[in-house]
C-alpha cells in the first residue's frame, strides 16, 4: 500500500475533495482530518434554519460516519495538524505523530476575525461560524431579551433576522455607511435597511464600537465611540473572516491573505492542492479573487481532487451566493464589481425584483430578491456568455429564457 491522500480540514470543501477522489477513481487511502469533534456539516443553515429552531442538529451533518466509511474515507475528528514538510511529504499532528502522504489537500477554512475591543473576552460575546458557536448562541439567545449584533454583513443580518423573529430587541451596529457594503450595491443596502427596521430591528450605520461592557465576567452591553450605550445579554460579532493559511505559509507554500491557488486548485507546491475558504485564486489576468461561499468550497474541492490525480478541471462557473433574511431570499449570480449601470426588473414594493448589473452592454451580475427563476436563468446566461439588453432586462414582459434559446454570439471577452 502506498501512502494515502491526506485532506486537512473536514468542512464542506474537504469532504468534497474526499468524495470526488473516490468518484474520479482514486483507489488508495483517503484520510480526512477534522479539528472539530463532529462529522462534516452544512454550515449555511447555522445562521438560518438551525438557529431558528427549524432543524435539529443531526440534520446538519452532510454524511453519517457510516456513509463515509462505506466510501472508504477514513474520517478522523479532533485531529489538528501542527506542521507540514512538503519536501518529505509528511505532516505532523498535534499529538506528535507523523503521517506520510501521496497527495495533500488543504481545506483548512477560515476563522472569525476577533473583535479588537476591550471586553471581547466576556461571556455572552460570540462569533458565528461553527456548530459549537451556534449551540452556545442558541442557549444565550433563549436566556436574553436584548441582542447587539456588531457588523451588518450577511452573517450578522441573518442572525439579527432570526433573533427579531423570536421577539428579541435587536440592535445592529455597522461601521460603514450602509449594510453589506462589500457584497451588494447601495440599492440593496437600502432595501435591507428598511426591511430590518420594519421588523423592529434598530440599525445604526457609521458607528464605531468602543467596548463590550460587562460585570463579573458577563457581557451586558456595548459602548460606541460616540458614548452611546446599548444593552445586550448577547453580543454577536460578524466582522469578517481570516483564511487559515498559517500551516501552508509555515511550510513555504505561497500565500497572500489565503493559500494561493490557480483555477485548478493547485498551490505552489507539488502534490499539494487547496480549496474553499482558506484559498485565494490567482485569475488569468493576474488579479486575486477570494470567494467565501459554498459554491467555491464545492467546486474548488472538485478541482482539487482532479488536480491530485493529474487532471485539469478548472472552476470556471460564475460565482453565486444567497442569503435568507425574514421571508426574503437574496440570490446573487456573477460579480457586480466594475458595473457602470444597473437595471431594475420587478417590484421593490412587492419584495420581488432583480437588479441586472452591466458594464456597457455586457451583463456582469444579477441580484434577485424572491425571484428564484430569474436567478437560475441568470446563472445560465452568465455561464453561457449570453445577455439580455438592458431594455429587455427592465421589461418584465420580456421572456428572459429566449436569450438562452437564440444562437450563441461570437465570444468577445
Amino acid at each position: 500500500m502506498g501512502a494515502p491522500i491526506v485532506i486537512v480540514g473536514a468542512g464542506q470543501s474537504g469532504l468534497q475533495v474526499a468524495e470526488s477522489l473516490r468518484s474520479e477513481g482514486w483507489e488508495g487511502g483517503i484520510l480526512l482530518l477534522g479539528e472539530e469533534a463532529v462529522p462534516p456539516y452544512h454550515r449555511p443553515p447555522l445562521s438560518k434554519a438551525y438557529l431558528a429552531g427549524k432543524a435539529e442538529e443531526a440534520q446538519l451533518f452532510i454524511r453519517s460516519p457510516e456513509a463515509l466509511a462505506k466510501k472508504r474515507i477514513d474520517f478522523r475528528p479532533g485531529s489538528r495538524v501542527a506542521a507540514l514538510d512538503i519536501a518529505r511529504q509528511t505532516l505532523t499532528l498535534a499529538d506528535g505523530s507523523q503521517l506520510d502522504y501521496e497527495g495533500l489537500a488543504l481545506a483548512t477554512g477560515a476563522r472569525n476575525r476577533a473583535l479588537p475591543l476591550p471586553g471581547a473576552e466576556l461571556d455572552g460575546v460570540f462569533g458565528l461560524r461553527t456548530l459549537d458557536d451556534t449551540r452556545r448562541i442558541a442557549e444565550a439567545l433563549a436566556a436574553t431579551e436584548a441582542v447587539v449584533v456588531i457588523g451588518g454583513g450577511f452573517i450578522g443580518l441573518e442572525f439579527a433576522a432570526v433573533a427579531a423573529a423570536q421577539g428579541k430587541r435587536v440592535t445592529v451596529l455597522e461601521a460603514a455607511e450602509r449594510l453589506m457594503a462589500r457584497a451588494v450595491p447601495p440599492a440593496l443596502s437600502d432595501f435591507y435597511l428598511a426591511l430590518h427596521r420594519a421588523h423592529g430591528v434598530r440599525v445604526e450605520l457609521g458607528v464605531s464600537v468602543a467596548a463590550v461592557l460587562g460585570e463579573q465576567g458577563r457581557a451586558h452591553g456595548v459602548r460606541c465611540a460616540d458614548g452611546r450605550e446599548f444593552e445586550a445579554g448577547l453580543v454577536v460579532a460578524g466582522i469578517g473572516v481570516l483564511p487559515n493559511d498559517e500551516l501552508a505559509a509555515a511550510a513555504g507554500i505561497a500565500c497572500d491573505r489565503g493559500i494561493l491557488v490557480d483555477a485548478c486548485s493547485r498551490t505552489s507546491a507539488p502534490n499539494v492542492v487547496a480549496s474553499g475558504d482558506c484559498t485565494v485564486t490567482r485569475l488569468e489576468d493576474g488579479s486575486l479573487r477570494r470567494l467565501e461561499s459554498v459554491q467555491a468550497a464545492v467546486e474548488q474541492g472538485k478541482s482539487a481532487a482532479a488536480a491530485l490525480l493529474g487532471r485539469e478541471r478548472p472552476f470556471s462557473a460564475r460565482p453565486w451566493f444567497w442569503s435568507d433574511q425574514y421571508e426574503v431570499k437574496l440570490q446573487m449570480a456573477g460579480l457586480a464589481a466594475g458595473a457602470d449601470r444597473s437595471v431594475l426588473r420587478g417590484s421593490q414594493e412587492a419584495h420581488a425584483f432583480s437588479l441586472f448589473h452591466y458594464r456597457g452592454e455586457q451583463l456582469l451580475a444579477v441580484d434577485s430578491l424572491n425571484q428564484p427563476q430569474v436567478h437560475m436563468l441568470a446563472r445560465r446566461m452568465l455561464d453561457a456568455g449570453r445577455s439580455p439588453t438592458p431594455a429587455q432586462a427592465a421589461d418584465s414582459g420580456f421572456e428572459l429564457n429566449t436569450v438562452l434559446a437564440t444562437p450563441a454570439p461570437a465570444m468577445s471577452s
Partner: protein, 107 residues
Amino acid sequence: MVMITYVEPNGGRQEIDVPEGWSLMQGAMSNGVDGMEAECGGSCACATCHCYIDEAALARIPPAADNEAAMLENVVAERRPNSRLACQVKATAALEGILVELPAAQS
C-alpha cells in the same frame, strides 16, 4: 422511520430508513446516496437535490411552493411532472415505501 427507496443515476437502489420530519434530501445525503449534491444544505437556493418522486405518491404530499416551483424551472436534468427538490419534501408516513429517482446531473 419512513422507508424510502432511492434509485441512483447508475440504477443502483438504496433502501433507507429516513426519520420522520427529515427531508428526502437529508435522508439521501446522510446515507451517501449518489446523484445528489445539495450544495445549499436545504435552503431551496441551489436546485442540486432534484429528484423524481413516485407518481403514485405525488398526490399524497403537499405540492411545491412557489419558490420551489420556480427553482425547478431551471434544473439541469429534464424536468418532469414528478420533479421535486428533495430538500423541500419531508418524510412522512404517507411516503412509506416510495421510490425516489435521482437524475444523471445536478449541476
